[in-house]
Subunit: 144 residues, 4 copies
């Protein structure tokens, strides 16, 4: 099992280690922290396909905000687990991206997330994505 | 505006202050942190209706886990904002509770959450809720 | 015991409830989260003495950054605990403030913090504090 | 620059990426989150020298708690930064370990931490460390 980000069956796979900070008194990963894992994976997806995230953010080309999110919690994750976030782009328009993000420990599915992202400008208004971003993301989706 | 938890139009209203810890480099509350606010409100709902949360947790009577959650993000919350989590119980069975949780700043709706909770025993298997819990929660729902 | 912020024996007392989000798999409050509690208390100290925090932050009058912090962990805090952060100002200069922050559960001291804060301008360079801030803070210290 | 944990000049070097979750409305890493980075590095130090952390935790052989911590904040870290936590063991007794943890971005020192850890048993009382742990950690310190 690789501990580095990679592509597997059309998904971007981002490994995450569970630390004490992630767990709660129930002995498992606190439910809000899956959203952190999912956001880390989305952030790493961009450089993985050749896009520099912070450049985009700083140059004022716009950025993505989460419009809505759905997470189903199936199995808990525990301290020290090495888990993977599998991210698929399920739909892409000019201003929005829809992603499926599945969190797994080996073959076991722990959580299933569905995220709608909207590209916004510096005033947080929906705006068309950077064409270069769309081209690189599109190439990644085709070649997978 | 009251800064203490109270009941308003049939919802349990729990006020939250936005601190630096809650915000991100975008200048707004980080999207996962709304789930913390919602969990705080759900936690405070129990003592508000006369149920001692930690007793339940420690006495092994079972506890609630989030089965799935949906959050729509409508408007951002900012540093120092005083916001409210409005929690409605929309459905209640023997093992599960369904809640609507709306986060507002004054009259403005910032986020809308829908949460499914399942009562589980110490082995994390679905189990009927404590009857006393159901009775107190039912009384609260009726009187509102 | 009051659950609202108040002044007691010359300290600003800020009550904090321990939620699931604060705990870890060891069943206690995660050690970094004491720094969140301490920062919440420092943030609430300003409005308590009549200073509007976000105004200061937004108007570019400068803000405080933590230069260094020391925390001694004496006793753990548990889920659902109602604890207090007692904040004393131990020294104040033109650009810096030194605070003692003690976290207690009733009479039991859980943690002792010592924090050095520096007032900085928008370029994050040390700068004299707002005179109005110093006056109000000084008045609070004298009257206690 | 390696993005995998490694040993460099006698220190265990653990790389960390700064994500949105780590930053605050000031545009920089929130001060408490450095303690998360430091704890991640301490956690990864054990498997790096051949010790299985969760086994130790689960088998009831005892575990480490932070007795006190000091952090000096010198330079801020920003979104998307790739930073390193350099961990040195500065002293080791039968029940306690003292560590220096320096957080750097390339050659720039961002924060300097000093941590005292105590090994405790299941009742959270100080207890001698597992001899195998001490041997493996001692070997690592000698060979570096």
């Amino acid at each position: 099992m690789s501990v580095n980000p990679h592509t597997y069956k059309g998904a971007f796979v981002f490994p995450v280690r569970v630390y004490f900070e992630d767990t709660d008194a129930g002995g498992i990963v606190y439910y809000a922290n899956y959203l952190k894992y999912m956001e880390r994976a989305r952030t790493e997806l961009s450089p993985h396909v050749g896009i520099c995230h912070s450049e985009t953010f700083n140059e004022g080309k716009g950025f993505f905000v989460v419009r809505d999110i759905n997470v189903k919690y199936l199995q808990p994750a525990y301290l020290d687990d090495l888990i993977d976030v599998h991210t698929h782009i399920s739909a892409m328009g000019r201003v929005r991206i829809e992603m499926e993000q599945v969190i797994r420990r080996g073959e076991v599915i722990l959580a299933q997330g569905h995220v709608n992202l909207v590209n916004v400008n510096q005033e947080r208004k929906p705006a068309p994505m950077d064409p270069e971003f769309m081209r690189l993301m599109g190439d990644y989706l085709k070649e997978k």
